[in-house]
Symmetry: C2
Subunit: 436 residues, 2 copies
C-alpha cells in the first residue's frame, strides 16, 4: 500500500494574514517560508507547494497583492532543508520553455533532486496585459501551448546524458561531446534549438505536477503529469477522478501507476468531533460575505459581482469565463441554473461548500484519510493548513495514528522528491535510443 | 575619497576547472558558490558577480557548457550571507520585463536589499534559436530593446509606494489602495500594463550594472547604469572611459557621481615583483594556443578559425560579428589590418594582452590600485581571481595595505548593496509626483 504522500501549501495562497500567529508580511518573508518548510520536513512531509499569479488590481484579494516569485523563493528554501520536495508554479503561457527548463533544472541541482513543477496555463485573463498581449490565449490554444511547452522542457532536460561530464583532470577531459544533444524542436507554438547548458540532476528530471478539471486539463494531466493537485468533495468523486485520469493516461501509453493524485485538504481538528464541527461552523460563519462575493469573480476574469442585485436571479453572463477558469465558471453557471439560485444563494453555497470532509477529532480525521487512501480516492494529500499551531496539531495528533497503521512514513525513503514519491527516474531519451 | 569598491566573479566565468583547488563540478555546486561568497563577505567585499549565457554547442569552451541560472543561484547564496551584494546577469533580449522585474525584486527582498542586475543584450547570435527566432536582433534593435526594457522594469519596481502595506491587524487594513500604481507602458518594443505584485525592497530598487564598450553600449550605460563593468589596459584608458561615461550621463540629466566604474582586474601576486612576473609569464606561456584560437571566434558568433592557414594574412571576414560582440570584432579586425598580422599573430597578441597591469608584490599591486583609484580610473574593482588561495592572498596581503591607507573598508557601511556603494535610494516616482 505504501504511505500517504504529504504536502503542504505555502502561506502565499491563504487568507490568513489576520491570524495572530501569522506575521503580516509572511508572504514576502523568506525566513517564514524556510521555517514552515523546516517544520514540514521535521514531520517527514514530501513536499511544500508554492502557488503563483502575475496579475493584480487594487481590488485583488490581499494574498495576490504581494508575493515572492516561486522559484527564487524555493531556491532559498532549498539550501536550508535537505529532504523535502520543492514544488513551484510556473505558467506555460508567459514563459519561454528555455528559461523554464534552466531555472527548474538549476533548482533541481541546487536542491539535490527535490524540484517539482506545477504546470499551469494561467486562468487570469488580465495577465496578458503584462506580457504584451491585448488578449489572453483562448482555452484550446492555452492547453495546446502547455502540452508542447512541457514536452520541449522535458526534451531540454535530456540535453546531456547522465555521464556527459567525466571531469577527468588527469587526462584533461571535461566532457564527452557525444553526450550533448540539441533538441531541434519546431512545433506549432515553439521553436527551440537547444541544447540546454545544464547537466541532468540526481532525479533525472524535476517532477511534473498539474491541476485542472476540464476535459483539456485532465488530458494534459494524463499526458504529462506525475502528480495531480485536485479537489474532491467525496470518496466517490475522488475515486472517479483517479480512475478517469489513469484510464486517459493508459490510453496514451503511459503507466497509470506513475500518476499520483494529491488533492488539497483542509482538516479541521477538535478534541472531539462535536468540538471540531463547532470550530468549522465558526470558520464558515466568520467568512466574510463580501470577500466571497469578490472571489466569485475570479473564474470570470475577476468580474465585479457587486454591481448586481443580490436577491435577483443569478445574472446571465453570456460566455464570460470562457477565457479564464472555464470549468469553474461553467460549474457556477450550471449550479445557479439547475437550482434557480439568486446571486446571494450562489455566494452562500460557495461559503458552505468550504465544509471539509476532514473535520473531527484526530482519530476521526485519521480514519477518514485512511478510508479515502485505501479506497483509491487519493495517493496523498496537500494540506492547505498554514497556521503553524494547526499544522503542528495535525503532525502531533493525526500523523502518529497513520504511522501506527503503517500508512504514514516515519523516515524519508530518499533524498529526492521522485524517490519519496516512488516515481522512477526517467531514462535519458538519447541514452535509451543508443541502447535500442 | 571613500573606499575602493570590491567585487569578485563567480567560478562559472573562469577557465579554472583543471586547477587542483577547484572541484571539477564547481560551476554547478551551490556549496562552492556559497563558500566563495562567504569568503568574500568575510573580507568585506561589496559584491559577487555571476555571468551568464544561453547558447552552447559541443565546441563551446567548457565554462559555457554547464552552469546554474544566475538568480536561482544567487537566491541560495542570499540566505547564507548577510552583507555582500549579489549581482546577476540577465538578458533583455530573451526575457519579459515583467518576469525580470519580479525575479530581481524577489531576490532583493529575500536578500534584504542586496540585489544587482547586470543588464546585457546578448552577443551570442545562436541564442536566438533557443527562443523561437531565426535570427538574433540586429545591434540597434538590441540596444533599443535593452533601454526600454530597463525603463519598464524600473517602472514596475515602483508599482507600490514604500508605505503601501500598513498591515494593521487591529483595523483590518492590509494595504493602501491609493499606493498601488499600474504602469500602462506602451512602447516600441514592449507593452506592459502592471502593476507588479511585489512591494519595494529595502534598497528601493536593485542596483543596475552594465558593460559594453560600443557607442550604443556606453550610451545605455550612461542612461541607466549605476555601476559599469569594463576592462581598462591603462590608467589613461580608464580615466578617459570614466570621463566619457560621466559626460554622457550628465548630458542625459543624470548626476555623474551616481555611476561607479568597476573594471575587471586579475592581479598576479608574487613575493617579489620579479617572482610575480615569472608567474605571469608561466600563466601566459601555459595558455593553450588552441583554446585561444577557439575563443577568438566568440565575438564573430563562434566563428571557426581552425579552417584558415595560421600563417596567411588574417582572413577577410566581411561583416561577420556585426550581430554579435561588434566592438570586440571590429577591434580585432582593425588590429590585424593596422599591423598586417597573420591569424597566428592575432591569436598570439590576444594571449599576450592577458598581461595584467596588476602584477607584482602585494605592495606593488596595492600601489597600483591606489594610483588608478586616485587618478579616477576606477571607483572599484571586480576581481577575476577565483582560485581560493589566490583570492586569500589578495585579501591577506594587499587589502591590509589599502586599509592602512584608508582606501579599503574594514567594516561594511550598510546591509544593502546600494548602501555600501554609496548610491542613493531612488525615490518612488509616484511618491515624488504626489510631493511635487
Amino acid at each position: 500500500m505504501g504511505a500517504v504522500l504529504l504536502g503542504v501549501g505555502g502561506p502565499g495562497q491563504h487568507h490568513t494574514w489576520l491570524d495572530p500567529e501569522i506575521p503580516g508580511d509572511a508572504s514576502v518573508d523568506i525566513r517564514w517560508y524556510i521555517a514552515r518548510a523546516q517544520q514540514a520536513e521535521a514531520a517527514r512531509f514530501d513536499h511544500v507547494f508554492i502557488v503563483d499569479s502575475q496579475f493584480i488590481t487594487p481590488d485583488s484579494p490581499h494574498h495576490y497583492l504581494n508575493r515572492l516569485e516561486p522559484l527564487t523563493l524555493l531556491s532559498a528554501v532549498a539550501v536550508h532543508t535537505s529532504h523535502i520536495g520543492l514544488v513551484g508554479t510556473l505558467t506555460t503561457s508567459y514563459n519561454d520553455p528555455f528559461n523554464i527548463a534552466r531555472r527548474l533544472a538549476s533548482l533541481d541541482i541546487i536542491s539535490g533532486g527535490r524540484a517539482g513543477w506545477n504546470v499551469v496555463a494561467t486562468g487570469d485573463g488580465g495577465t496578458a496585459g503584462n506580457y504584451g498581449r491585448k488578449e489572453h490565449y483562448d482555452y484550446a490554444t492555452r492547453y495546446g501551448r502547455a502540452l508542447e511547452h512541457v514536452r520541449v522542457v522535458q526534451g531540454l532536460w535530456d540535453s546531456y546524458e547522465d555521464d556527459a561530464f567525466p571531469r577527468d583532470k588527469a587526462n584533461g577531459v571535461f566532457f564527452d561531446r557525444s553526450k550533448q544533444h540539441a533538441l531541434h524542436h519546431i512545433g506549432e507554438h515553439f521553436q527551440v534549438a537547444g541544447p540546454l547548458n545544464l547537466q541532468r540532476s540526481p532525479q533525472g528530471q524535476p517532477v511534473i505536477f498539474q491541476a485542472g478539471d476540464s476535459d483539456e486539463g485532465r488530458d494534459l494531466g494524463a499526458s504529462v503529469a506525475e502528480a495531480i493537485f485536485t479537489h474532491a468533495a467525496s470518496i466517490e468523486e475522488g475515486v472517479a477522478f483517479a480512475r478517469d485520469i489513469r484510464a486517459r493516461a493508459e490510453a496514451k501509453g503511459r503507466n497509470p501507476e506513475h500518476i499520483l493524485i494529491v488533492p488539497g485538504i483542509s482538516p479541521i481538528l477538535g478534541d472531539t468531533d462535536e468540538q471540531a464541527r463547532e470550530k468549522e461552523a465558526a470558520i464558515i460563519g466568520g467568512k466574510s460575505f463580501d470577500r466571497a462575493l469578490k472571489e466569485l469573480g475570479r473564474p470570470f476574469g475577476w468580474h465585479d459581482f457587486t454591481r448586481y442585485d443580490l436577491d435577483a436571479p443569478f445574472p446571465d453572463l453570456g460566455d464570460l469565463g470562457d477565457r479564464s477558469f472555464r470549468t469553474q465558471a461553467e460549474r457556477i453557471k450550471k449550479l445557479a441554473k439547475d437550482n434557480g439560485f439568486t446571486l446571494r444563494q450562489v455566494v452562500q453555497h460557495g461559503i458552505e461548500s468550504r465544509r471539509s470532509p476532514f473535520t473531527g477529532s484526530p482519530l476521526t480525521v485519521a480514519n477518514e484519510i485512511q478510508k479515502w487512501f485505501e479506497a483509491g480516492a487519493f495517493d496523498g494529500i496537500n494540506l492547505t493548513v498554514t497556521v503553524p499551531s494547526e499544522f503542528a496539531r495535525f503532525v502531533d495528533e493525526v500523523l502518529p495514528i497513520l504511522r501506527e497503521r503503517g500508512i504514514a512514513r516515519s523516515e524519508y525513503d530518499a533524498t529526492t522528491l521522485r524517490g519519496n514519491f516512488g516515481l522512477p527516474i526517467p531514462q535519458n531519451i538519447h541514452t535509451a535510443e543508443k541502447a535500442a
